[in-house]
């Protein structure tokens, strides 16, 4: 009994640890969707390229991914901005399926590229502290997970400060709500869309960099599954707020962890799919709509 309780508490805490990474990768998707009404199917590809970039930089410089993220995130801001100008902008007026297919294609190209350069072997970044743990009472926590959580949280707080405290950040939020009104107050909507796509990609880049510390990876895995998880998270948490995304990230991670703890590890990846389907069928507006309905009732 006590042992089960400890395992549940452990599941809670490790859910929290993973949630930082989940929220970082999902918020980029939400940001881009909010501003451009485009689902960035290349998000997982960007994470994957960022993971390999981090691997190479770690091998050549010996610097920890927690340090490298300061370089990798801005690098993928540029990659995202270029992708927006070269690919996305051209189809922004077309039907949604066009950008969807184009970005899906971009993801496949990225995968092929990574396979060509790095091969299909499973990789990981293993700094000295990788196997170290800390005990809090009966609960065991791995250092790498703590670090990744803290890094993710710091990134999201910085982003939120930017979105709320600067003209450019406010313009990005406003663009998601009324584009024409933005043009009418002097916002260069094309440029700000580019910045938003860049920021979303930078978040995916940061997530890709950080995940090297916690997941083994190859050009395909675990990025496809993570993509699905991001969809689940933004459908659950909504596109409006970072809080919704963070909360949904935690809920999904918790559901996964409890499934692993109390049932079978093989079911972990099934959870996000089940949650996605249930959310779409039962509460189409996600958590936010559910809470709003509560408040009205």
């Amino acid at each position: 009994m006590i042992e089960t309780l400890v395992r549940v508490v452990e599941a809670f805490i490790s859910a929290l640890m993973v949630a930082g990474l989940y929220a970082t990768m999902s918020y980029g998707l939400a940001l881009i969707y909010g501003v451009m009404k485009i689902i960035n199917l290349a998000n997982a590809g960007i994470m994957m390229l960022a993971a390999f970039t981090t691997l190479v930089l770690w091998q050549t410089t010996g610097l920890d991914p927690l340090v490298l993220v300061v370089v990798v995130a801005p690098l993928f801001f540029v990659v995202g901005a270029v992708l927006e100008v070269v690919v996305v902008r051209r189809v922004s007026a077309a039907a949604p399926i066009v950008s969807l297919l184009l970005l899906f294609g971009t993801w496949l190209v990225m995968q092929a590229f990574a396979n060509l350069i790095f091969g299909g072997d499973v990789r990981g970044v293993r700094p000295a502290y990788i196997d170290s743990v800390v005990h809090v009472g009966d609960v065991t926590l791995a250092y790498n997970r703590i670090f990744v959580f803290v890094a993710g949280a710091v990134i999201l707080v910085l982003l939120e400060l930017f979105l709320r405290g600067t003209f450019l950040g406010r313009a990005i939020r406003a663009l998601a709500q009324d584009r024409e009104a933005c043009a009418l107050v002097g916002v260069d909507t094309k440029r700000v869309s580019m910045v938003a796509f860049g920021l979303g990609s930078a978040l995916a880049g940061a997530a890709g960099c950080l995940l090297t510390l916690v997941f083994p990876f190859d050009p395909t895995n675990p990025f496809g599954v993570l993509q699905l998880k991001s969809f689940t998270i933004i459908v659950l948490g909504g596109l409006e707020s970072i809080i919704g995304v963070a909360f949904a990230s935690f809920l999904l991670a918790l559901a996964e962890n409890l499934t692993v703890t109390l049932s079978r590890p093989q079911l972990e990846n099934l959870v996000s799919f089940v949650v996605l389907v249930v959310v779409l069928v039962v509460m189409p507006g996600g958590l936010a709509a559910l809470l709003r309905r509560r408040r009205l009732a």
Binding site: F167, Q177, L184, V185, G186
Partner: protein
């Protein structure tokens, strides 16, 4: 030379023509009104001037300089600012965020603290509601935010698209009082209205649009006395 000149403007929505050779002028410091019934092309004219809808043909000049073909954000930087029909606020941003974003452009930004104070003086109610989400305001309050946001850009010409639409009579009075004050102290005004009676009372000059064409233009007093206008728009 007029401050804003529109010459032979032709505009299309896709393949459908909405404006035919629309010409009018806005003199500096004046209130000019653009009248017409539903679908006459008033909003289309303002959106073309703002650069949202590129004209097919014709010229738009500000202080003699061509501004047609210039992107919308550059037009704001030149001082031509629009308070759009239906307000177009950002509902999930606070009142203050809506106002401050109005100062995004080159003219508004350096002055934003001072302009914000003066907008709150003009609309004390907005000062009380500064942290409320714009989407939760009443229609009248939203219109005040929209006008305030336009002023934040420090306009040379402020274009207002049906600012009194859907407001209670007492708020309509308030809006027209504010427009007078703007014209007297802050900017040249181009006013689009369906409230023809009130618009002609405060305007210096007026143009009447019908089916995308200017059918009548002149001093507001003269237009108000026109027999056709009296029967068609004033119900006299």
């Amino acid at each position: 030379m007029a401050l804003l000149e529109v010459r032979q403007l032709t505009a299309f929505h896709g393949d459908v023509q909405a404006l035919w050779d629309v010409s009018f002028e806005v003199a500096e410091g004046s209130i000019t009104t653009l009248l017409g019934s539903n679908g006459a092309g008033k909003t289309t004219t303002l959106r073309t001037i703002s650069g949202i809808l590129p004209p097919r043909d014709g010229e738009i000049r500000l202080g003699g300089e061509r501004i047609d073909g210039v992107p919308p954000h550059r037009i704001v930087d030149m001082g031509v600012v629009q308070v759009p029909e239906g307000r177009k606020l950002w509902p999930n941003l606070s009142v203050q965020e809506n106002l401050v974003l109005g100062a995004y452009g080159r003219r508004g930004r350096p002055e934003r603290a001072r302009t914000l104070r003066s907008v709150y003086e003009l609309f004390p109610r907005l000062a009380e509601r500064r942290s409320q989400l714009a989407g939760t305001l009443s229609g009248g309050e939203q219109q005040m935010v929209a006008i305030g946001r336009g002023l934040m850009a420090r306009p040379v010409v402020l274009m207002l698209d049906e600012p009194s639409l859907g407001l209670a009579p007492i708020l309509v009075d308030e809006v027209f009082r504010v427009i007078r004050e703007i014209a007297a102290q802050r900017a040249t005004v181009l006013l689009v209205e369906q409230n023809v009676h009130r618009a002609l009372q405060i305007a210096d000059t007026a143009s009447v649009l019908e089916n995308g064409r200017v059918v009548l233009a002149g001093p507001a007093k003269q237009i108000a006395g026109d027999a056709k206008v009296q029967t068609a728009y004033l119900g006299l």
